[in-house]
């Protein structure tokens, strides 16, 4: 079972999802969270280099695990932030057929997308971010940390 004792926000790593230039900030966000959706436009348009880390709170937003898995799967085909932008930009259509439609619009290989988003590896990757957020003391989303 995982260690969830306190720890600093992990530094940027080779498999972090990064976009932009400038000062690095880490954002723990929930793809099912309306507050995150409202903040995302500003975060995405800002001057910082953003590292998105998964923080699905499934009890509060039951579709969040599926959305995070979809984003991670899209990332495995090089379209992580495009999927995040899509999910925050249109929050009303997030059932599986809608996710397939989004994947097709992004030009993803659908069979691979499906296999990846349902895989244990993707679930573990999402959970790894979540646990790092818990250890860093995340109590609500979005949680933004500036890295020195």
């Amino acid at each position: 079972m995982s260690d969830l004792t306190s720890a600093a926000v992990p530094p940027l790593g080779p498999d972090d999802h990064l976009r932009g230039e400038g000062r690095a900030v880490v954002v723990y966000a929930d793809l099912g969270c309306p507050h995150c959706a409202a903040a995302w436009a500003e975060i995405a348009a800002g001057p910082d280099r953003v590292a998105f880390r998964h923080f699905p709170v499934a009890s509060k937003h039951p579709r969040s695990p599926a959305l995070h898995a979809a984003a991670e799967a899209a990332g495995r085909q090089g379209r992580f932030f495009e999927m995040v932008d899509s999910l925050y930009g249109d929050r009303g259509r997030v059932d599986d057929p809608h996710l397939w439609e989004r994947a097709e619009l992004l030009g993803l290989e659908l069979e691979r997308f499906e296999a990846d988003r349902r895989s244990a590896a993707v679930a573990a990757r999402v959970r790894r971010d979540f646990e790092s957020g818990i250890r860093a003391g995340v109590t609500s989303t979005p949680a933004v940390y500036s890295l020195a």
Binding site: M1, L4, S6, A7, A58, S59, F130, A136, G137, T139
Partner: protein, 149 residues
């Protein structure tokens, strides 16, 4: 606030289903009591939702989790369903705040419990406590696991 080492005051309160639950029901297990101000207040929802996500890890350490506020048990049922959590919520309704007072968590004048955590050991003694500086802040789950480590 009650101190570590003291016996945890016994209580019998109704849960979200109206069933009576006592502290002694948990004898032999560790119990984390989450006192919180009230159902449907914004911060309380985040706190219980976050803790729900790590209940598996808490269970692996032999810890059960309950929430206590002054709300009636009908409100607890609605709140539990609203949040999609299965944490037992106990109603410290009548006499109002009696259990919170016994644990030193009740905020006189405000009429509800402060956001506090009390870890009760298997023998019914207080093992650890945490008191938020104000009701608007809650401890992250990491604080709980630090206490358990």
């Amino acid at each position: 606030m009650i101190a570590a080492g003291e016996p945890a005051p016994d209580f019998t309160l109704r849960d979200q289903d109206g069933e009576r639950v006592s502290l002694t029901d948990y004898r032999g297990r560790k119990l984390l009591i989450v006192f919180y101000p009230g159902d449907f207040s914004p911060v309380c929802g985040d706190q219980l939702s976050i803790y729900q996500e790590v209940k598996g890890e808490l269970a692996a350490k032999g810890v059960e989790l309950i929430g206590i506020s002054v709300d009636g048990f009908f409100a607890h049922k609605a709140f539990q369903q609203h949040l999609g959590i299965d944490t037992t919520l106990l109603s410290d309704f009548e006499p109002k705040g009696e259990v919170a007072r016994a644990y030193g968590s009740y905020l006189e004048g405000l009429g509800f419990a402060n956001r506090t955590l009390v870890l009760v050991d298997e023998d019914g003694r207080v093992a650890w406590t945490y008191e938020s500086p104000d009701p608007g802040q809650f401890p992250g789950a990491n604080v709980i696991f630090d206490a358990l480590s």
